[in-house]
């Protein structure tokens, strides 16, 4: 990229910016905010919505600032009567074919279109006429599509493309244009990973998670239900945003305090399940290496990644660790070990997982996540970070004034720093290495920070380590697009012989999962959300008295008193699973 600088004058302010900048970026550098709607940095830069129009002096027509490069000596005006009037009528036209049921919309108060409507003082919609055909699809357990809200900005299509899943596309033409999978089939039947990046990208309420909060409220209020909640590590790195805290604020203590006040009977951290995962997965890896098992072994914590493999890379299903994901493991332990120790019938326990992820919802409803011996599901409901934030607000809690509390401390309350970093790309790998290295070296190693697998800049990270004379080659991929690249290279034989690979379905890992708070596209121009949120987790890791999963005392007791040892028969029954190839657009979608 050229580092040449050019001088441009925007609304009378002259700035010197890199020649590669767009007018939008240059204006931002000059402290001038140009409104945007279809624009999403690095994802959707197409100039489709015409909301960011500006006047370039000497130009014939108004220019879309998000796609117009700056040139030396350019003079731009962003606030002329012509610009204002054009933006306003553009907004009115978008609103004329938009379901303006804002009060009953999941994005009420958090909608980029609503913000713009307010910003431009839209008081009436001058254009009334036909509405394009709409479709409401809530048949999947994860993603709801409401095309009556869709403004065809294309951000979801671009986000899906960025993931290299490409299940969403523009379909039809002209006024009948819609966004959906082929044949506009339900998301329940589409070859979708449910990563939810489309939801994160959607500026309006056209895409959102299937809500489960009412079911959870009902369980909390049911005196016959013992409701046990667990929270994934990534949630604490973003929940604060829903309460106005700066991005990257760690709210672990307030989060637990809030859950306690909401009336859950028992509050745990999914980090216990993460530590458990490391023991199971680390043991599985060592066994595969020792016994000539299928390598590379690939992590199985990310259900978006699992679905991606089941649809697109079925030949790698034997490479996947058989470990359930941490919250499923923890759910299984709550319904068995915990239930037994507490003398509660597992059927009376209702387990809730608070997750940064939209793919965890359908994961929990998979057939394999049902325990036939006990007649119960590992996890009864999954809530996203956004849903739990809304429920905390409904409880009437002043979140920011809460004291710091921790999870309940009995049986499965303890967790280590290794578990906390599960929420960031490279974290599962690092946590596994901390334990595997200790086991192989028969030592309590002090050098435990594997920085080579940290960070978000490279989508595929590699490291080669030597532990107790064993050469271990590992790789980390985040986003399904990166997974595709890595797996293609392995398939073609151009990749090195890895032993162990961590794959997370979303770029940055769980901290940027599809269930996390949506951040306004304008804010995303200035920060790397993935890095900001990950910092919170690495900070918590440093604060923990124990930073290796096998040092978790509650986990030690669980093995001693209940499971026996990692990968024992009982452990396999409760904590391991299997996968199935899934067909892409089978003929059955056509009906009849």
């Amino acid at each position: 990229m050229s580092m040449n600088k050019v001088k441009v004058t925007i609304d009378g302010v002259t700035v010197s910016v890199p020649a590669s900048y767009t007018i939008l970026e240059a204006a931002r550098a000059a402290g001038i905010m140009i409104p945007t709607l279809c624009y999403m940095k690095g994802i959707n830069e197409v100039g489709a919505c015409r909301v960011c129009l500006v006047e370039v002096v000497g130009g014939r027509s108004l220019a879309a600032s998000c796609v117009s490069p700056v040139t030396e000596g350019m003079v731009v005006k962003t606030n002329t009567p012509r610009v204002r009037a054009t933006r306003k009528s553009t907004l009115e036209m978008i609103l004329s074919d938009h379901n303006r049921d804002c009060l009953a919309c999941i994005r009420n108060g958090n909608c980029e279109l609503q913000d713009l409507s307010e910003l431009y003082g839209i008081r009436k919609i001058s254009f009334e006429g036909a509405k394009s055909p709409t479709r409401y699809d809530d048949l999947s357990d994860s993603i709801v599509r409401d095309s009556s809200k869709c403004i065809l900005c294309g951000r979801c299509v671009a986000a899906c493309k960025k993931q290299d899943v490409n299940v969403l596309s523009f379909i039809n033409r002209g006024f009948n244009t819609a966004i959906g999978p082929a044949y506009d089939i339900s998301m329940a039947d589409a070859p979708c990973t449910y990563c939810g990046q489309c939801i994160i990208a959607c500026p309006v309420g056209a895409l959102h998670e299937k809500e489960d909060s009412e079911r959870v409220w009902a369980a909390i209020q049911d005196p016959n239900k013992h409701v046990v909640v667990q929270v994934a590590p990534a949630v604490r790195a973003a929940l604060g945003e829903e309460f106005g805290q700066p991005i990257g604020t760690r709210v672990t203590g307030k989060m637990f305090a809030a859950l306690r006040r909401m009336g859950f009977d028992k509050i745990y951290d999914t980090n216990f399940g993460a530590d458990l995962t490391i023991l199971e997965e680390g043991t599985e890896l060592l066994n595969r290496i020792k016994n000539g098992g299928k390598l590379p072994m690939i992590t199985s914590c990310s259900p978006g990644w699992i679905r991606f493999a089941e649809f697109y890379y079925p030949e790698f299903l034997d490479n996947l660790s058989t470990c359930k994901s941490p919250h499923q493991m923890e759910g299984a332990i709550i319904k068995s070990y915990y239930a037994e120790r507490k003398g509660i019938d597992p059927k009376d326990i209702f387990t809730v997982s608070i997750m940064p992820c939209t793919s965890k919802k359908p994961e929990a409803t998979r057939d394999e996540m049902f325990n036939p011996a006990l007649g119960v599901r590992d996890v009864d409901a999954v809530l996203t970070t956004r849903e739990i934030a809304r429920m905390i607000k409904q409880t009437g809690i002043d979140f920011n004034k809460l004291p710091d509390e921790g999870p309940d401390q009995d049986l499965i309350g303890e967790y280590t720093g290794a578990a906390v970093i599960f929420g960031a790309t490279g974290g599962v790998m690092e946590a596994a290495l901390r334990t595997v290295a200790d086991i192989l070296e028969h030592k309590d190693l002090l050098d435990i920070e594997y920085t080579a697998v940290r960070g978000v800049d490279a989508l595929i990270k590699e490291a080669e380590l030597e532990i107790a004379g064993i050469k271990l080659r590992v790789a980390v991929a985040h986003s399904t697009a990166a997974a595709r690249k890595l797996l293609d290279a392995i398939r073609e034989g151009t990749a090195p012989q890895y032993h162990f690979i961590e794959i997370m379905g979303c770029s940055g890992g769980c901290v940027c999962g599809g269930g996390q708070p949506q951040v306004h596209a304008q804010v995303l121009m200035d920060i790397d959300l993935r890095a900001e949120r990950a910092k919170a987790l690495y900070e918590e890791d440093l604060l923990m008295p124990e930073r290796k999963s096998h040092k978790n005392a509650d986990l030690d007791a669980l093995y001693k008193d209940f499971l026996g040892e990692p990968n024992s028969h009982l452990a396999h029954e409760l904590l391991h699973t299997h996968y199935q190839q899934r067909e892409i657009y089978p003929d059955s979608i056509m009906g009849e």
Binding site: N166, V167, S169, I171, R173, P181, A182
Partner: protein
């Protein structure tokens, strides 16, 4: 159109594979060309053809479907032995071709763009066919019928039903 009827399914599959092989390595860029040639082989672009094209070019079925539904040249449905083209060009439209189209849809129990289950008729709502002096106009394959009113439609279709 007649020639596609004589190809067996296996021949069609082989021909499509040859088309895809011809554009190997070009990926998304070749999508339009491959779809055109695929439609020439099959007469339309059903789901299994879309899947084959998507796999062959390394694009998703949703993208393939998006392109097909964008361009009116591409058809998701087979054409009938008799294709009824209803001109919706300006002159015909002003002279009431919408009512003609609706009458045909009612008579054949299918919508524009669809084909009857027996494969006999399909309806194509088309743009100006250049016979504005005869508006409103329909064509059944190569036969032209002009200055129509909806009540003439059943008799016209009856001729082909018996054919």
């Amino acid at each position: 159109m007649g020639s596609t009827k004589t190809k067996t399914h296996d021949e069609q599959v082989t021909l499509l594979e040859q088309v895809i092989a011809k554009y190997q390595g070009q990926g998304r860029k070749a999508l339009m060309q491959v779809l055109q040639e695929a439609q020439a082989i099959y007469g339309y672009l059903p789901l299994d053809v879309q899947r084959t094209v998507a796999d062959g070019l390394g694009v998703s079925v949703a993208e393939v479907y998006g392109v097909i539904t964008f361009y009116s040249f591409f058809s998701l449905n087979p054409k009938g032995a008799f294709e009824v083209s209803v001109c919706l060009g300006t002159a015909c439209y002003v002279k009431g071709s919408q009512a003609i189209l609706e009458k045909i849809e009612e008579e054949l129990h299918i919508k524009a763009g669809e084909c009857t289950p027996d494969g006999k008729f399909s309806i194509n709502a088309c743009r100006c066919i250049g016979a504005c002096g005869l508006a409103p106009v329909i064509m059944v394959n190569e036969d032209v019928y002009g200055r129509l009113t909806p009540d003439q439609i059943p008799a016209i279709l009856a001729k082909y039903k018996e054919a």
